[in-house]
């Protein structure tokens, strides 16, 4: 009986579907409306907060002129780049894609992103952006993506807890030593467990950020030579290990899994007094713990004078290799990274933008509440401390080799000396191999 039912059903379905939109072949882009050139723009901004903002920026651009029509498509976070890569390989890519800033040079080297020099020769817009960001887009002197937004790492601290512990809420810790002292005072122990933890450095960031902070140096020098086995890094890891011993693996892992899973954060209800994260973490405090009295500060220095170096990243707008309308795409990118769009983005999303002027305007924007302004200003101020760690083009997967060594050290399976030495060696081997 089910065979008798199935066949007719099948044909009826086919009939209906032949008229369905999903079964019309042909290049969707060929359906250009009138004289306008339609360009495809892919981003991963689909949430109810971000989507309206980017849509507005796109709409503004579409209205501002009558030659180009931007079609914005949301593609899920993370997977967007797999899709982009496939589309580039098929020579049918979109015209503008938002991508990770740290791998821009790598994509330039691999010929995935278009060399933007020919546009920049006509309109040099490089001075719009923070220098560190702009440099990250360069491969052999040419830019392959235009910075859109960025981030940095700052210290959030609970002022109420500070007061309870007898600390001055307007005087956040300035050095690693102070951080430790403060944490000692902020800790509230209840038997074997903690009611409040003062601070733990590896929640929110990894140990590489602290190694960067310790001496302002990345794992590679300017010439791409690995410099991981250094005195500063050894000291940093010793310091991290001190924290590790202080709280013990059980407590640390339990909190960490909660923080990593992006569900629940002990900082919100005062169970954690100090926490390092991006300035945009503020939006979560604002939304989920509106009563929390907190302050923001730069990352402490390892020792006075060693610098408050922080770590950042961000996203660029790039034109994939093979785009059919690079000129029009460039026009749109210019709009996307110009002051007006950037300021709008910054204010509406409370996000750090790459455009310096837009960022500064945003910090003063009347739409921003005072508390927002304080954090935002801190983010801007921290930009000069902020370093990026672009993916080295000759060893893009070096973290695969470094991470396990760092893990082993933290798990006590290797000594700090041994771990760093091994990391250094395997990086040297990797560089050697790829040359």
């Amino acid at each position: 009986m089910f065979r008798k039912k199935l066949m007719p059903l099948f044909f009826v379905l086919l009939l209906i579907l032949s008229g369905c939109a999903g079964f019309k072949t042909g290049d969707s882009k060929s359906a250009d409306s009138g004289d306008k050139v339609v360009i495809d723009f892919w981003s991963f901004w689909g949430s109810e907060i971000r989507r309206p903002v980017i849509d507005k920026i796109v709409a503004d651009f579409n209205e501002s002129q009558d030659k180009i029509e931007v079609k914005h498509t949301f593609v899920p976070w993370g997977d967007i780049w797999t899709k982009e890569l496939a589309a580039i390989a098929a020579k049918n890519p979109p015209d503008v894609v938002i991508n990770d800033i740290n791998a821009t040079a790598l994509r330039g080297q691999k010929n995935q992103a278009m060399n933007l020099s020919r546009f920049l020769e006509k309109d040099d817009i490089s001075d719009r952006f923070y220098e560190e960001l702009w440099n990250a887009t360069l491969y052999e002197g040419d830019s392959y993506g235009i910075p859109f937004n960025t981030d940095t790492r700052i210290l959030f601290y609970n002022k109420t807890a500070f007061k309870e512990a007898g600390l001055d809420p307007e005087k956040p810790p300035a050095t690693w030593e102070e951080l430790w002292e403060y944490a000692e005072k902020l800790d509230v122990k209840n038997g074997d467990t903690y009611d409040r933890i003062g601070f733990y450095p590896l929640w929110g960031v990894n140990s590489d950020v602290w190694m960067l902070n310790s001496d302002g140096k990345n794992f590679f020098d300017e010439d791409g030579v690995p410099i991981i086995d250094t005195e500063a890094n050894r000291e940093t890891l010793e310091w991290v290990m001190d924290w590790h011993e202080k709280y013990g693996a059980n407590t640390i892992n339990s909190y960490k899994s909660q923080i990593d899973s992006q569900q629940g954060n002990p900082f919100f209800n005062g169970k954690l007094a100090m926490y390092v994260n991006t300035p945009t973490f503020y939006t979560q405090i604002r939304d989920y713990a509106p009563d929390l009295d907190f302050g923001v500060a730069m990352l402490p220095e390892r020792e006075p004078g060693s610098g408050n170096t922080s770590w950042g990243g961000g996203f660029v707008a790039e034109i994939p290799q093979g785009s059919k309308h690079p000129e029009e795409a460039w026009e749109f990118i210019k709009h996307l990274t110009d002051v007006e769009a950037q300021e709008y983005w910054a204010v509406k999303n409370f996000d750090n933008v790459a455009n310096i002027k837009a960022a500064e305007n945003a910090a003063k924007n009347s739409e921003m509440p005072d508390k927002d302004k304080v954090v935002y200003q801190m983010a801007i101020d921290n930009m000069e401390n902020t370093l990026l760690t672009p993916v080295p083009v000759h060893a893009p997967d070096f973290m695969n080799l470094v991470n396990p060594e760092l893990d082993s050290i933290l798990l006590g399976k290797k000594s700090i000396e041994q771990g760093l030495k091994d990391a250094q060696q395997s990086l040297e081997k990797l560089i050697e191999k790829s040359k």
Binding site: L13, G46, L85, A90, Q263, G264, A289
Partner: protein, 301 residues
């Protein structure tokens, strides 16, 4: 059928051995086994359901409560409105229709075509059958990533990007997993049945249609459910091949709740549960096809 898992069985046996003749009574014994079985299943259900309870509970919390540390076991405030908000956060109506369209076609294709192919591999002798079947199996062994790019390029050349063809058409050419599965089921059909039909004058096509299909109904139901599941939950396919948001599917739609920095857990869980619901309902009612299975041996001994 009376087979019961070991532990319960052993316990039962011990009891029977030591107990008075009362337990020798077949009905009592059967009832006892059934009770043990029920208790085991119920206990197991709790294990299975607890993660799902977590989803449900999260889906009803406010984001502020989701972010509370330590996490709460049940919502303090039941935000039923989350479900409506979730559905409205993106054009989920359209996504649902799209997903149903794709899924229906994939299921029909999978059930019909794989059964057809599997019959050939199981019941029609031909030269090179073994080698071809080995090739079928080996296509399962190549990791999908490495063919992802060339396959995309291929579909792009066919002008199939941004259509449902790459998602639907391959289902009409068989999948190794289903071919293998159905072949295993066909192998349990006695050859005598096929031979009898041959002698009665039926062609292989007729035998497949009148004997093969009805006799493998439980397996076809399995294929239907698996392929439904696969198409319904497919993420990578729609992600790669659909460029127009009007063509997006539910799984792609769910991704709007996940951003680069934070995730709207309550909506994501509500959305996941909503997307899950039709599958569960379908399964619940489709089960009868397993239960009314066909006794292949009943024609014989």
């Amino acid at each position: 059928m009376e087979e019961v898992e070991m532990a319960a069985k052993k316990r039962d046996e011990e009891r029977v051995a030591s107990a008075p003749a009362y337990f020798d009574n077949i009905h009592t014994k059967r009832k006892l086994l059934s009770l043990i079985n029920f208790i085991l299943l119920a206990a197991g259900s709790l294990l299975i359901l607890s993660p799902i309870w977590w989803m449900i509970s999260t889906s009803l919390k406010s984001m502020a409560e989701v972010m509370t540390y330590p996490p709460t076991f049940y919502p303090h405030e039941w935000n039923w409105g989350n479900y409506i908000k979730t559905w409205k956060a993106a054009p989920f109506d359209t996504y649902a229709i799209n997903t149903i369209t794709i899924t229906m076609l994939v299921v029909i294709g999978s059930v019909l075509v794989n059964s057809f192919i599997a019959y050939g591999f199981a019941k029609v002798p031909f030269k090179g059958r073994g080698i071809l079947f080995a090739i079928v199996l080996s296509t399962m062994m190549i990791p999908g990533f490495v063919t992802l790019i060339p396959q995309y390029v291929l579909f792009s050349k066919l002008q199939w990007i941004n259509t449902y063809y790459p998602l639907v058409v391959p289902a009409f050419f068989g999948s190794a997993f289903f071919i293998f599965l159905l072949r295993q089921f066909y192998m349990t059909i006695p050859n005598e049945l096929i031979e009898a039909a041959k002698i009665e004058g039926a062609s292989h096509f007729r035998i497949w249609w009148t004997i093969g299909l009805p006799l493998t109904k439980p397996a076809l139901a399995t294929v239907a459910i698996f392929s439904f599941n696969g198409a319904w939950n497919d993420f990578l396919g729609p992600l790669l091949y659909l460029n127009d948001e009007n063509l997006y599917t539910l799984q792609l739609g769910l991704q709007v709740f996940k951003g680069e920095m934070n995730t709207q857990w309550n909506y994501l869980m509500a959305g996941s549960l909503l997307v899950l619901l039709p599958v569960i309902i379908l399964f619940f009612f489709f089960q009868k096809y397993f239960i009314q299975g066909i006794n292949l041996q009943s024609g014989g001994k």
